[in-house]
Symmetry: C2
């Protein structure tokens, strides 16, 4: 494994969860609150109530939804694994031919592919592992990751969402709250986007600007629609 690949691996799991949760958490509650600030006859307390309801709903949808999706992935992997073991038992020639096909496709000669397929088939576990990864493209999911990942994503969503909302708690009129909220969130999205991009290997300033742009566009459109329908 290359060193750049190992780096990706170490920084990956938890950071990936935080990035997923915070990207939406910083964007959607902010944009919702901004949208409601554009509506007629709405107070800060309604905005805070709606914002908190959104944070709760969004974090549960992402967290619990993500948890169940993770569990499904584990089930799916087990089912495919069982199927491969069955096939290796029931139709070994066909599975051998499939190993050969994978190799020949990459320019290995038919003769060498046959030798390798034969060697692979000596150990059933490794043979099945090979089929899972190289034929089906499936990586074994971590069974305990699902719950952990769900919690990380949900908490990041909550943390991200409370930041833009706090501006409406400490101000008394929606438009004042919107002003502070936009300032705080723009900075937060830029900083978040900068580090997110650095870690995924994207150009940091471009990534930071893109992340901020998503928030600004979402908030602008939400504001416009709320203003339109309450006029």
């Amino acid at each position: 494994m290359h060193s750049h690949d190992e780096q990706h691996f170490e920084s990956s799991e938890t950071v990936r969860d935080v990035v997923i949760g915070m990207a939406d958490g910083l964007t959607v509650p902010f944009a919702l609150a901004a949208g409601l600030s554009g509506a007629a006859a709405i107070s800060n307390s309604i905005i805070v109530t709606a914002g908190l309801a959104e944070i709760v709903a969004g974090s549960i949808a992402m967290g619990l939804g993500g948890y169940l999706a993770g569990r499904t992935e584990v089930d799916h992997y087990s089912a495919e694994l069982r199927r491969e073991y069955e096939e290796v038992e029931r139709v070994p020639e066909r599975e051998l031919a499939e190993v050969k096909d994978v190799l020949v496709e990459y320019g290995v000669s038919t003769a060498s592919a046959a030798v390798v397929a034969d060697e692979l088939s000596q150990d059933k576990d490794k043979w099945v592992d090979f089929m899972m990864k190289f034929e089906l493209g499936l990586e074994e999911p971590h069974p305990k990751r699902a719950a952990q990942s769900a919690r990380n994503i949900a908490l990041s969503y909550v943390a991200g969402g409370l930041l833009p909302l706090s501006a409406y708690v400490f101000t008394s009129a929606p438009h004042v709250g919107l002003l502070y909220s936009s300032g705080i969130t723009a900075v937060a999205l830029f900083v978040f986007g900068y580090f997110k991009s650095k870690m995924t290997g994207q150009a940091p300033v471009t990534g930071a600007l893109q992340t901020t742009l998503v928030g600004v566009v979402a908030a602008g459109c939400a504001y416009a629609i709320a203003r339109l329908i309450t006029q």
Copy 2:
């Protein structure tokens, strides 16, 4: 390729986008509206305004956010591809050794692995393809998919979100709206969860119940928090 794998492939791309968008679209706006129904002194028109602002914000965050993530994935793949081509040129022995390692790990003998690595290295494009997929585990992303996928996800979010919200347009009190909205959304989540699970190979009724559960829990918690803070 197995027939069950091909099936996964055909039904996948667009369906996957619709599933992603609709899972959140049916859940979050529904739960937000349910939450606001639990708050004191809130009218249906405020709930509809907040719901629409959320739908706009959520669909843009998912759509535009997904589009940019897709673009980043394309860039990342190109960067890694360039790096592999460079390494194959600059340190071919090391890259050859890495091919051998991958094969030996699966039980191929050192001698056969050496022969195969040598054969693979005759065609640089296929050699690099092999490294990209089997060493780095990267699949080539579709450059045009990003925009298409973003649109599918965003539209599915909007479609999913308008359904629970419609109940508040055709009723006049939040609690009546909530009653209809819950009924409509529970049925929609169950049906959606059923077909989603069928397509991903999960047990359909279990999947349908799980999908419905996420919506019910999110709505229940949003209702509770809104009621608590406005009392």
